[in-house]
Amino acid sequence: MQPVTPRVMPRRGLMLTALVLAAVAASVWRLDLIAAFAEGQDSLGELLGFLQRFAAPDTSPAFLAKVGQGAIETLAISLIGTLLAVIGGVALALPASGRLGRLGQLASRFILNLLRSVPELVWATLTVLAAGLGPFAGTLALALHTTGVLGRLYAEALENAPPAPEAALRGAGSGAAAAFLYGTLPAVAPQWVAYGLYRWEMNIRMAAILGFVGAGGLGAQLYYALSLFHEAQAATLIVAMLVLSLAVDALSGWLRRRLVVA
């Protein structure tokens, strides 16, 4: 019998690896990174001092009260933004799954793609113009992007739902709305809720950030603190963001177990 020589690395794999390495090298050259980081090294002492000031978070009661307020605002932005997106997502998912004819499907898919491909932060720069500085702009920005994401996922869930229950109800003479509500909705609802909660977990992090462009919440305070070189306050705010997102993770996990698996 001929012994089989194992090929350690196929030629195509070798070529792809070389391609990737070349891309990395070209990128380093393009950004002149070595010089940039060397410059950063010159200010290594400065960097250490900067990080040192981070190590002692500001815990004065007055500031903590302000942080608490920012945290509630961020929570409100994320929750309302996600809820609006769930409503918008359902409204667009129904036509996008092809229930209202071909034209409606194409139009709603186009809208969903547009909403989804523009990042929250870019939406926020526009909603700040439309609604003025403040939490409402952040809420709208989150709602717009998340509608695009949820609408697509919701439409996919609708398309994958078993058609038999709804068809049976229709066949037995029930109206279109009732057939959908009792035939298809129960099949997709757990998935819809799970996607909504999952996006809420992502949006609490996003909501904390949107403040950078003037949309309120913890982000606005962090931007302000870092601009004024108040590292101690910035450290408190970053910890607050972490705690808030972990708390939302826990809450959403609890809700998911209650609502989805039940």
């Binding site: 195509r12 794999g13 792809l16 891309a23 990395v24 070209a26 990128s27 380093v28 393009r30 950004l31 990174l33 940039a36 980081f37 410059e39 950063g40 200010s43 400065e46 960097l47 900067f50 509630i72 605002e73 929570l75 409100a76 932005i77 929750l79 309302i80 809820l83 491909s117 523009v118 990042p119 932060l121 870019v122 720069t125 526009l126 113009l129 439309a130 609604a131 003025g132 403040g134 939490p135 409402f136 952040g138 809420t139 992090r205 996003m206 904390a208 950030i209 950078f212 462009v213 309120g216 962090l222 931007y223 870092l226 070189f229 910035a234 970053i238 963001m241 972490l242 997102s245 972990l246």
Partner: protein
């Protein structure tokens, strides 16, 4: 037999509804939810004026030069960011994965290895717990405005994310070859190279490429806080309410994301 017309779940649903309204109402106040603001004449005029200048998109040669250069920067930031993130993630993942634990095999847990594992997991959590945009904001203070801050921020956050997912992949793939090697007395590195990597490498590469695609998107967003690339250009145009430029940048961004999607899908097909 009489059938009750009552929905047995009605009471629970009604309670949930009341609780939801009680929670939501104050939150709506906090979020300053006032849709009427949107139809305020002054705001409408500002937004309308800005959106009106979106057409036609800016196409003068000078601006297109800037645009091309910023696009290349964005791609380069994402590429190096992911490369550095891998350098951070690989050791962390190897330290924190349970698949290479010899203690699990013979039942005698070695305290030192367990402590190292917990520390590595904690570090991973901290790295990815803070969003990349916050890291970028911090690094802009250190490295100054420019791509270096974006690269550092991506490397740290994505390093944490990759480390977590790598160790999860290593733990969820078929462990029997690795266990056999470890039980036969091979070292951890040999068990990794000959037992674990051959079964897990496809998924590892595929996830890394997917993350590169996410990094392209993230590096655009990070530009908004001054970390270079397309985002920084877009931030400048938006602040000056230059709609034509903003429109061109937005179109470029969408095309770039689509191209990154396609390239990443192609690369993932190649490794399958």
């Amino acid at each position: 037999m009489s059938v009750s017309q009552h929905d047995p779940a009605a009471r629970g649903r009604a309670t949930a509804l009341v609780v939801a309204v009680c929670v939501l109402w104050p939150l709506l106040q906090v979020a300053q939810f006032e849709p009427a603001v949107l139809f305020d004449a002054g705001n409408l005029a500002t937004l309308g004026g800005f959106l009106g200048t979106f057409l036609p998109p800016a196409t003068d040669a000078n601006f297109l030069g800037y645009l091309a250069s910023a696009t290349l920067d964005t791609l380069a930031i994402a590429t190096i960011g992911i490369a550095l993130a891998m350098l951070i993630a690989v050791p962390l993942a190897l330290l924190s994965t349970r698949s290479l634990s010899i203690g699990r095999l013979d039942g005698r847990l070695r305290p030192v290895s367990e402590v190292i594992r917990v520390i590595a997991r904690g570090l991973t959590l901290v790295l990815r717990g803070v969003p990349e945009l916050v890291w970028a904001l911090v690094f802009v203070r250190i490295f100054g405005l420019g791509p270096a801050a974006g690269v550092a921020a991506l490397a740290i956050t994505y390093g944490g994310m990759l480390a977590k997912v790598y160790s999860e992949i290593l733990e969820s793939s078929d462990l029997s070859p690795t266990r056999a090697l470890l039980a036969a007395g091979s070292g951890r590195l040999a068990a990794l190279g000959y037992g674990l990597l051959p079964v897990a490498s496809d998924e590892l590469v595929s996830y890394t490429v997917y993350r590169w695609e996410c990094a392209v998107r993230a590096s655009v967003v990070m530009g908004f806080v001054g970390a270079g690339g397309l985002g920084q250009l877009m931030d400048q145009s938006m602040k000056m309410l230059n709609g034509g430029e903003a429109c061109s940048i937005l179109i470029t961004f969408l095309l770039l994301v689509m191209a990154a999607d396609a390239l990443s899908a192609w690369l993932r097909r190649q490794v399958r």
